[in-house]
Symmetry: C2
Subunit: 205 residues, 2 copies
């Protein structure tokens, strides 16, 4: 197969959904979209920087250093950012991160990211928990607004998953928070269907 000779590096920064927690294939949606990108001829190096339990505040602290050593000036560099579910989780009677703070963290990350790397924001998924979903619905919309204001393209997941019985069922049958292979494949398909995704099909330029 012909390979595009551009040396493409891509970092996926975020939480356990980015990491692919619970996926028996150890790929998650990030790994799946990269396998498919390579299959369509892109010479792509895949870095997964998802970390379990992390909020936007945790991610804001580490993403710069972790991306800098993986995305050198000599290669064509991409960054995908996704988080939110851990921020709205209630601990000690309040969300782990207040909504305004989440949005501030997202804005800071995107402002710094977009001048360095071709960047994409992926919104948080839905969970099988009505109360958390109410907060996530609101947060997800506002996050997409922040991304638009920062000039960073985005892909929403929440509206796509909140009424999806297969997604919710798989998450519930697994650990209550994460899907298994089918759920991650579904997100990968969703992202690949968006014009914002760079490697959806053979697009050599």
């Amino acid at each position: 197969m012909m390979m595009n000779n551009k040396d493409i590096r891509i970092c996926f920064v975020g939480d356990s959904y980015v990491l692919g927690t619970g996926d028996p294939e150890c790929l998650g949606w990030a790994g799946r979209v990269c396998v498919n990108a390579r299959r369509t001829g892109h010479n792509l190096t895949y870095y997964n920087l998802g970390v379990r339990r992390e909020t936007s505040a945790d991610i804001a602290r580490r993403w710069r250093a972790e991306c800098e050593c993986r995305l050198p000036a000599t290669t064509e560099n991409y960054l995908v950012i996704s988080f939110g579910v851990n921020d709205v989780t209630i601990e000690n009677g309040a969300p782990r991160v207040a909504e305004e703070e989440t949005l501030g963290n997202l804005r800071a990350i995107l402002d710094a990211a977009r001048v360095r790397y071709r960047s994409l924001f992926v919104g948080p998924p839905a969970v099988p928990d009505a109360e958390r979903n109410a907060r996530l619905a609101h947060l997800s919309e506002r996050m997409l607004d922040v991304a638009a204001q920062a000039g960073v393209p985005s892909v929403a997941l929440f509206p796509y998953l909140v009424n999806d019985r297969q997604w919710l069922g798989e998450v519930q049958a697994s650990d209550g928070a994460h899907p298994r292979a089918a759920g991650y494949a579904k997100i990968a398909t969703r992202i690949e269907a968006c014009p914002e995704w760079w490697f959806g099909s053979r697009k050599f330029d």
Copy 2:
């Protein structure tokens, strides 16, 4: 399938061979041994912290911070460390890192690692380049000695790969440095066959 309920986290720290560069399946040997560990019932979370082009000096600088946020005190934590090929690469007439310095970096990493995490050192592979292999043969042996002195178990790859035509052929047919799927599968099989690997078969304790 019954899952062991222990919450196991494992970080793989190292270079492009750890990352799985060139693998069309985006797993490398690290991803493959984790897929197999999950298949045999281990509730394992997989973090791949391999970075292309990095020497022991680069890895020594970042591994602590990257592992700390991924391996919390509340889970059962494991660390696999592997590097060496980039250290012996000649740049400006000399190896990128001198042998004594490589060994010093390895010693410092292993001394700090073994008191925090169950740790394993995996030696560097062989490459289709006689001159580099001569340096790697020597370095690999000395690295295994350093690991033994630090009380960290290790798995050698170099002697296993240096005369393996399938490995060398695949690397040569790829980018000259990295294999594709078969080579990474071979390393995964080698590691799983070693008693030092923790998740070789269903071993609940």
